[in-house]
């Protein structure tokens, strides 16, 4: 399976991916306080949105996205990790 590298290097650009994830979180959760019935919806939409934006970049990577939400009274911490595995 020979792979000839195109003119452009396809690499995982951390800043670009960070921005995509931040936008996904902000658009899904924004400044909302924690609402128990909505949290499932929020987490799935954050991950799905960031994954779809990442795949739109068109790079030859497999992606895995994980969102961990920790909540306590009305405050929420949201940790999103995205992994890109080169094919």
């Amino acid at each position: 399976m020979d792979d000839f590298q195109a003119g452009e290097e396809t690499s995982f650009v951390v800043d670009e991916v960070s921005n995509i994830i931040k936008e996904a979180i902000e658009s899904a959760i924004g400044g909302n306080v924690y609402q128990h019935n909505k949290v499932n919806q929020w987490t799935t939409s954050v991950v799905e949105q960031s994954l779809s934006q990442l795949t739109k970049l068109g790079k030859p990577f497999k992606y895995i996205g994980t969102c961990t939400v920790r909540w306590e009274n009305k405050t929420m911490y949201c940790i999103v990790s995205a992994f890109g595995l080169a094919i």
Partner: protein, 148 residues
């Protein structure tokens, strides 16, 4: 043509040394491996084995542990190292692994963990192992992705 990705060869055939000219018209000897033409791994990933192993590692390390904000980060790191080494030792070939270990204190809070992936459904998989004590919950997620 700058740079060719080399194939690793499991059949043990010797690599071929090729003379090739690059753009600056200098001859360089390049090592090229033969195609194995194998699309599937020889030793396919068996999730039940890894799940048992991960569960055993969690139980071993966390049996007598109490949640402690200072020592938990290093505990997390050491558990994930151990799980990763164990996964690699199992010897499933052509797999990349990713191990995530989460330790959450039981202090009136709740945690939700969601994962999504874009991968090869037929060959990539994931397993999770959980361990619970009075003071904390530990969750280990292991993803195995096929790579050739």
């Amino acid at each position: 043509m700058k740079g060719r990705r080399l194939l690793s060869n499991y059949e043990g055939l010797p690599p071929i040394k090729e003379e090739c000219c690059d753009d600056s018209s200098e001859t360089t000897a390049e090592v090229k491996y033969l195609n194995t033409n194998r699309l599937e791994p020889c030793n396919k990933f068996q999730d039940c084995l890894i799940r048992d192993k991960a569960q055993a590692i969690l139980t071993n390390k966390l049996q007598h542990a109490k949640y402690d904000a200072a020592s938990s980060p290093s505990l997390c790191a050491s558990i994930s190292e151990e799980i990763l080494t164990a996964a690699k030792e199992m010897g499933f070939d052509r797999y990349k692994y990713m191990v995530t270990v989460l330790i959450v204190e039981k202090a009136g809070q709740a945690v939700n963990v969601v994962s999504r992936w874009v991968w090869d459904v037929q060959r990539d998989t994931w397993i999770s192992a959980k361990y619970e004590t009075d003071t904390f919950i530990a969750l280990a997620l292991i993803m195995a992705c096929y790579y050739d």
